[in-house]
Structures are given as C-alpha cells and as structure tokens.
C-alpha cells in the first residue's frame, strides 16, 4: 500500500510530532525496525519527556504552518521521570480547549501515550491522525481577526 500522496506533497501537508525519548520515540523506532509502513508527512522531534512540552511549541508549530501537531509520551504511571506525563496531560488538555480561541481547529492537535513496545499502536495512531489532517486539509496560515 502506498500511503504517500503527491497532492499532499504539493500542498505540503506536514505533521509535527513531539515524542518523548523513552517511550514514544522508542515506539516509533520499534515501528521502523518492524518495517511498519507509515505516512511520510510526519516529522518527529525528540524531546526528553512529554512534560517538557511547553504549550508554546505546538502553538508555534501551528503558527509556522504545521497542519497537525501530535505529542506523545509514556503511559500515565510509566513516565521515565516518574510524573512528567501527568503534568503533560493536564497542560495539553487545557491547551486543546484553548485552541479554538486561537482560530485553530482542535482536531489538528492530539496527545497520546505510546510505550516503547507499542509499534503497531504507533502505526495505527499516526496513520489515522494523518488521514484526519488530510481530510481537514492544509491549515490557513493567517486568520483575519475582526
């Protein structure tokens, strides 16, 4: 199955994913090692912990033209740093509610928990999320504020 789409390439749909070093980045690596095919529109940035995500990052990413932003960390309870993902969960939940005020469709934003062994879960998540963003189309860069 060829998941890439030249139209997407032309339109430049891009998804930025912030993955924690210990679980989700490992999960994405595991998916690679298992050769699980994934849409090529995703670009991954490695961060130490999902708790390290400043809400500024996803906002800035949208501002600079990302069509979707995904943040993923260890499952609650399994954080490598004991409790970083609890902070992330609360912060990102609030951020999700805040996005419409910024003129950003909250469907373009997702946070999730993927462990280092969940290669298939990662593939399923990223495929589904990319499909969703594809449906929504490229983000409009400038929103007129009246």
């Amino acid at each position: 199955m060829d998941i890439s789409n030249t139209l997407d390439q032309k339109n430049g749909i891009k998804i930025v994913a912030f993955l924690c070093n210990w679980c989700s980045y490992g999960g994405a690596d595991a998916a690679g090692t298992a050769r699980l095919k994934q849409p090529p529109q995703v670009r991954i940035i490695r961060i130490p912990c999902s708790g390290w995500i400043n809400p500024l990052y996803p906002l800035k990413a949208f501002n600079e033209g990302a069509d979707g932003v995904l943040i993923s960390g260890c499952h609650p309870g399994d954080c490598h740093y004991a409790e970083g993902n609890y902070y992330a969960r609360r912060r990102l939940e609030v951020l999700g509610h805040f996005l419409p005020f910024m003129g950003i469709d909250p469907q373009r934003f997702r946070y999730s928990w993927i462990s280092a062994t969940e290669a298939q879960e990662w593939q399923a998540l990223i495929t589904e999320f990319t499909e969703k963003i594809r449906e929504l189309g490229p983000i409009k860069k400038h929103v007129e504020v009246s």
Binding site: D2, D29, P48, G51, Y81, A82, E83, G84
Partner: protein, 651 residues
C-alpha cells in the same frame, strides 16, 4: 561555525529508499554547512575514521550524522567526535532509518523527508553548546530483587566480585519456581539437588544480606546512589529464635491453601513452605490464623520451646543505600481458568504442569506418587496439553513461553518412570526444542519412553464416568481424535507476576503489554534497562528456562560489577541549569521536580534563587516548563533549539 553533514547508506537499509546523494546535495545548501558526504556504513570503523578525518581536515566544529536512531549509535558518533578533538555534545543525529527509510516505500517522499530531518539536525546542532559531564561518587552495594535462581546467581556473583549484596525476596524462602520442580530438562538433574546448595551458599555468604519475606516499598535516587525502602512483612515469629523445628506446624489447627504446592494438599497457618527452605524459619499467615481470626488458640506459642512466637509483630520499613539494582522477580504460572473448554477448576483431574511437578516430586504432598486428585488412583492414560496461556492470541498471550515444550517432554519421561504401564499423549502446536541437548531429549521421550505426540489443539474436555474425554484434532492425520484420559496436565505458560507493573513504576523501568520488563536493546543490551543502574535477570524480562535465567543472572551481576568498578561516575550534562539573572525565586521548579534536584541558594542578603544539583537532575525539563521567567533550560533541548528544529521542518 563549520558544520559537517554525514549521510549513511546503511547498506541498502537507507539507500534503498532514500536518495542519499540528493540528501548530501541539499545539505550543502544549509546554513553553516561546509562539508557534506555520504558513506555506506558510517558506524563501521572506516566510517568513523571518515568522520574523524573530516572533522580535522575541514576544521568542523559541529557534526550532523544522518543515519539510524540516536538510541542505536549516538554514543558511537559522539565518541568518534571526541576522539577527533570535538566536544561530543556538538554532534546531532538525524534518524533517517527507523523513522524514514524503513517505514516508507515512496522514494521521493522518503528523500524529501530525509532532507527535512537533516535540516532539522543542522538547525539544532548550530545551537548546541559545548557540554562537560560532572562526576559523582558511587555506592558500591548491590540490591537484588527476587530470590529465584536468577536472583540467587546474581547475588552470588556480585558478592564474589567483592560487593555487599542485599537480596530481597517477597516469599519466606528463596528458591523461587525452580524449588517447585522435580527434575530439570534435558539432563534430568534433580532440581532441589542443584538448587538448594546455591540457596545455602546465599545464606552463609557473609557479603549477602538475605531479606526474605520483605518487599521493595520505594526506590528513590539514581545510578550509584539509590535510596531503597524495604518493607519487612510481619512474620509473627522472631526469626532470631526460630530454629525451623516445625513443632508448631504439627500442632497448628488451621489448614490452609498451600501456595508452594500450588494448591495440591494443604499446609498450616504457621508453616515452612518446604523442608529445605532458606531461611528455614516459619511464618504465621495472619489471615488464616485462628488467634487472629477468633481471638483464641495460641497453640504455637505454647509448643514453641524457643519462645519465638510474637503475635504483636508489625511490618517495618528498613532503608538501604545501593549503587546498582538487579531485578529478578521471575514469573507466575499462567492461570488456566480462562480456558473454560479444559474445565480447569471444574474437573479435579485437570491440573497444571506445576501442580504435576509437585505431585511427581518426592518432597511433594503425595510423596512422589502420581495420583488422581479425585480418587487417589494411579492414572494410566495421561494427556498433556501444551500452549495453555502461550501462543494464543484469543487469550491475549501471543508469545511462546519457551520452557513448556521441554517441560512437557520431561514430564512424559517422568510419568513413564513412575508408572511403567502408562501412556502419555502430548498435544502440541509445534515442538520448540531449541537448546543444547533439547531436540535429543524430545527424541528420547518419543523413542525410549513412548511419548505419543499429537499435533493439534484440544477443543473440549468432559467427564465420562471416572474418565475425562479429551476431544481434539490430529492435524497431521486431518482427523478428529478422542482420548479417554485418567489425568489431564495443562502445560501452563510463563506469565509475569501480577504486581510487575507496580514494581516497574517504583523502579522507573518500562514493561510491555504482558508485564514483562523491557530491556534497553533486545540484542545488544539484554540485561540493561533504560534506567541506568537497574539490570534485569531471568523470566521477569521474557519467558526463559533455567540455563538462560542463570546466564542472565550472571550477566546482570557482571554489568553491575562493571558499573561499580569505578569510584566515580560521569553524570550526563543533559541536565537543567538556571540563569540566575532571570530567576525570581518563586520556586515553582522546586515544587515540580520529581527528583528533588532543585536547591535554594542565597544570592545576596535575603535574595533566594534556584540552583540545580546537576548530578541529581535527570534532565526531564519539568522545571523549565514551570518556570514563569524562562530562567531554567535543559542543556541540549533548549527552547531555542526546539523552535529551531520546528522552523527547519516547516520551512
């Protein structure tokens, strides 16, 4: 600034999907890039030499290696940079294998993505700073959690290496599941005969502190400096006085479930699990003791000549400081109750392989006589069913439990030795006999001992008179098969202990969907975890048999010894640091830090600011997000760097 970009082909792993020369060409156009090249295998010695030479020849002061995951080779390329005189933290990697070439088939899309990822690396590396590790002192003691054969081996080896070892075992004796076995494959060695001397070695070793009937309560700290809280569970017996004479056991009126014998037979509320227990001390199970339940009895107290009984005993928390931890918590037998079709729990004569093991054992509840639990008669037709709780997606257990095929063959041999006129039928999916002498052992079971192997699964078991009818299919003959059996033995799989995730969370290590602990790398770091200083041994990591568990016990000990051979360890410089000028002393960072790595520091009279203890900080960055003034950053992952990475991707 002079950045060098190196693009790896990884044979055809990357070059098969990514047009590497095009990536190099694109990289040459990125800011500050003065040199870019590609190579077949950068991780090979010749590849590393290429990088080192280029660093010197082109006076590179930053390097981007575009190859596999940083989890794979970041250390390799940092070391190469250091050897060429470059600060190793001025190296970044672009993961164009696991997260690009291996997951895409469209060459154009993959190449574009690879170019983006390299640009991201270049943007990040240009904002990297030279970093220098700090050093900290190491505690030389070792904690081993779990006293099965893997933990015993690890404890003995670490003690032999000259370290003090604390061995924590949650049951009242060490020995683990191996103590339950009668014989071991493929040599038919008596399990206790080879295990109990090791158990005694632990007890008499002056460097090993054996804490049986204890559980790990809390683990704080970091490699070289773990602070461990251990709960001593109340035994209601003063172990310093108890001699294990079992006088009390004979008199105790409370008969209870016998966990050691897997529910075959009964034990007492005050008991020893088995005669060779180490330490040989009794405990009272409070939930079943007549005195605790009804307020009177105290028979044990009356008969004990040593005045060892103490009904006022309480749980206690003790603390230990250690430098390394070996986790060897082993497995539990899969509970076959989920297989309704086999009728375990409904038919008394359907038992698990571990129960059968206790039955065959001379020290077991039947004194080594094989008897039907229902009527005590000697069974003549015995059916073994493999893969109960293994290789079965429908039951949520996709993995192979490794040891059961061999255990089943062993039990067929033992059955024939105990009851020469018996016939054993062994239902199997495949016979997995991948070990030294294993295949030969299965051949012996078949040829010398007449084990009847039937390929296929059992669909149903039902009672017919005194017999159990086992219905299945022989998939080699393509025919249904029905066997009237006297006894059915389910070769239950290896399952992680129920509380494995809880322990993993205390230790900050990962576990998979079943509850097995996750190693750092499945091939190259099989006994290490992602938490430095915590090592794995035995079946807590994956199903394995005794030889593998022992090998892993030794391997984990060797890893711990290697770590503790140094007096000081290097602390990663990827930690938080405070820009004092911007700190307003709100100490929000202190409140969120999971490691208590933030210290208050007096700047001048009365003005307090935060300070990060760099050897304690793990670099999670929680403080950085909490900081309202942006005074805290994590080296190597600064806001500036992450925003630059984003910019590079979205150009």
């Amino acid at each position: 600034m002079r950045i060098g970009v190196f693009v790896c082909h990884c044979g055809s792993n990357i070059a098969g999907t990514v047009d590497c020369p095009r990536v190099v060409e694109a990289a040459r156009g990125f800011p500050h890039v003065v040199y870019a090249t590609d190579y077949t295998y950068l991780c090979a010695e010749s590849g590393q030499d290429l990088i080192k030479t280029a660093i010197q020849e082109y006076s590179l002061d930053r390097v981007v290696v575009s190859s596999c995951s940083p989890k794979m080779h970041e250390e390799t390329f940092r070391r190469a940079a250091r050897q060429a005189g470059l600060n190793p933290y001025l190296v970044e990697m672009a993961n164009i294998r696991e997260q690009c070439s291996w997951i895409h088939s469209d060459k154009e899309a993959a190449t574009r993505k690879a170019i983006d990822l390299v640009r991201k690396g270049v943007f990040k590396v240009s904002r990297d700073q030279e970093l220098f590790p700090s050093f900290f002192k190491v505690n030389k003691d070792v904690l081993v959690i779990g006293g099965g054969i893997a933990g015993i081996q690890a404890a003995l080896d670490a003690a032999q290496g000259g370290h003090r070892v604390t061995l924590v075992e949650k049951d009242q004796t060490i020995g683990g599941n191996m103590a339950r076995l009668d014989k071991t494959f493929p040599t038919l060695d008596c399990s206790s005969c080879i295990l109990t001397p090791r158990m005694v070695d632990v007890a008499v070793n002056e460097s090993i502190e054996l804490l049986a009937y204890h559980e790990v309560e809390e683990v704080k700290g970091y490699v070289g400096n773990f602070d461990v809280k251990i709960r001593r569970k109340a035994t209601y017996v003063d172990w310093s006085k108890c001699t294990g004479c079992e006088e009390c056991v004979g008199k105790c009126p409370a008969r209870i479930y016998d966990k050691f014998n897997q529910g075959l037979g009964r034990t007492k509320a005050i008991s020893l699990p088995f005669p060779q227990a180490v330490p040989k001390k009794v405990t009272i199970k409070k939930d079943f003791c007549h005195f605790f339940l009804k307020g009177k009895c105290r028979v044990c107290e009356k008969v004990c000549q040593f005045e060892a009984i103490n009904f006022d005993d309480q749980d206690q928390i003790i603390e230990r400081k250690v430098g390394a931890i070996v986790v060897a918590t082993g497995y539990e037998a899969f509970d076959p109750i989920a297989y309704l079709e086999y009728g375990f729990g409904k038919y008394k004569d359907v038992i698990t392989s571990l129960q059968y093991e206790r039955m065959v054992s001379a020290s077991g509840p039947t004194m080594g006589h094989i008897k039907r639990p229902s009527d005590g008669e000697e069974p003549k037709t015995i059916v073994f069913i493999s893969c109960v709780g293994s290789r079965d997606r429908a039951k949520g257990r996709s993995y192979c439990s490794v040891a059961c095929c061999m255990a089943m063959a062993k039990q067929a041999i033992l059955t024939k030795e105990h009851i020469p006129d018996s016939t054993s039928y062994l239902f199997y999916i495949d016979i997995r006999a991948g070990g030294k002498g294993y295949e030969e052992f299965v051949d012996r079971a078949r040829e010398e001992y007449g084990a009847q192997y039937v390929r296929g699964r059992v669909s149903k078991i039902y009672q017919k008179g005194k017999k159990l009818v086992v219905k299945g299919t022989d998939t080699l003959l393509g025919m249904p098969i029905e066997i009237e059996a006297d006894l059915v033995v389910l070769a239950v799989g290896i399952a992680p202990p129920q509380d494995a995730p809880e322990l993993a969370q205390k230790l900050n290590i990962s576990y998979d969907q079943y509850g097995f602990f996750v190693e750092s790398h499945p091939k190259l770091r099989p006994v290490e975890t992602n938490t430095t200083g915590v090592f794995l041994a035995g079946a807590c990591q994956a199903p394995m048999d005794i030889p593998a568990s022992v090998a892993q016990g030794s391997a984990a000990a060797a890893k711990a010894l290697g770590l503790l051979a140094k007096d000081e360890l290097e602390a990663s410089p990827i930690v938080a640091s405070v820009e004092i000028k911007r700190c307003v002393g709100c100490f929000k960072c202190e409140a969120v830090c999971p490691f208590s790595a933030i210290q208050r520091q007096e700047l001048r009279d009365g003005i307090m600011v935060s300070n990060v203890i760099s050897t304690v900080c793990k670099g999670c960055g929680l403080c950085g997000v909490a900081c309202p003034t942006g005074a805290i950053k994590v080296n190597g992952f600064t806001d500036e760097q992450i925003l630059a990475e984003m910019e590079a991707l979205l150009l």
